[in-house]
Subunit: 220 residues, 2 copies
């Protein structure tokens, strides 16, 4: 039987899905800014991040009140604790997207990304946005199988990140230390964005099943 | 009046303090390995990280059981939710220390850190270890004032990180892209280590006071 408490849980879930969607949209804009040497996105993403953070703060406060007032157990308890973690991870994903856009702005009107790694950032951007979308639907459906698929997407990101690093640290790199520094750091931002998506997926998996996904317990 | 529940909370706090202490010790070893071009620390820190992670998993499971069985409110509730977050942040600090040691191993027998940034990594190592120690005592004492002092230490880390980046991206950098990539990434590991210490401090502050420390709500 539905009641106000479960309506409140549904409201939290909807907001968390919204946060994942916003983080993905932010990374899409940030990747465009990076590849097209846009400077204006950085300030816009800073505004988006403020909004994302305040959404997370609202989720945190509501989850806390529900924990205190409803004394939930079993899956309801897992849902509320997961909400606290997921809000933090989705906020972090948005912050990493903002970092990417800031790097693009710092090098404007130049492009922070040299031609020979452009394809990798293009792919990392696609993988990051896909992961955010997959995470969003896993959160909204509280679906353990979708949560498992996020980990697979993260393997792809790790592979791209390894390729990126390998291209920078060869003697053929002709773009100097500034470009090398930008490329490895921005690559790290994409990799961490994907890691936080996986963290969210693991929370969803635990929320749905009460058991930990794969090596999830090793990342508690 | 004391009871088993509060003894269990004290046990969680002791384990969380232990985790912060271990993360600090790991970063001390990692910094030595980085500056002295040691390769053996990397494997030892991998073992330390496994132990840290299993401690965190145990804290997580006990905190969950207490949430479910005791239906805590007010400060007890904040303590248990903080424990879930602090265990995750302390585990992450240990993982970052392991990353530093792995970079040292990757360049062995060379030193991943060129002479002209050695002083900065030396200082970043000191600040990181100090922050971990300060965080440990804030956790153990659940002391809001000590928690506030952690943020000040983080400002120092951010300043060192800025100096590091500035030294790499000058035309005077003579060490090629591999060293540039290593230096900015390892610098990032130290900066993130400090950020997680601040996250823990914010959790402690909220646990102790029920209010958010400074901009803490923006990092939920």
């Amino acid at each position: 039987m539905r009641n106000e408490f479960h309506d409140a849980l549904d409201g939290l879930t909807a907001d968390l899905g919204d946060m994942c969607g916003r983080a993905g949209a932010m990374m899409r804009s940030a990747t465009m800014a990076l590849l097209e040497a846009e400077s204006s996105e950085a300030d816009r993403l800073q505004v988006d991040l403020k909004r994302l953070t305040s959404l997370g703060a609202a989720v945190h406060d509501r989850a806390y009140s529900l924990l205190a007032l409803q004394a939930p157990v079993a899956r309801d308890l897992r849902t509320l604790v997961a909400a606290l973690h997921i809000a933090a991870d989705a906020d972090r994903m948005g912050a990493l997207a903002a970092h990417v856009a800031r790097t693009a702005k710092r090098r404007y009107p130049d492009c922070a990304v040299p031609p020979e790694v452009r394809d990798l950032f293009d792919q990392m951007g696609v993988v990051a946005v896909d992961l955010a979308a997959l995470t969003q639907s896993a959160v909204l459906a509280c679906d353990a199988e979708e949560a498992e698929r996020v980990s697979a997407g993260d393997d792809r990101m790790d592979d791209l990140h390894r390729q990126l690093f390998a291209r920078v640290i060869t003697d053929r790199w002709q773009h100097g230390p500034t470009a090398a520094a930008d490329v490895v750091l921005v690559g790290r931002f994409y990799e961490r964005f994907a890691d936080h998506a996986v963290e969210i997926a693991r929370r969803v998996y635990f929320q749905a099943t009460g058991t930990h996904l794969g090596a999830a317990s090793s990342r508690l």
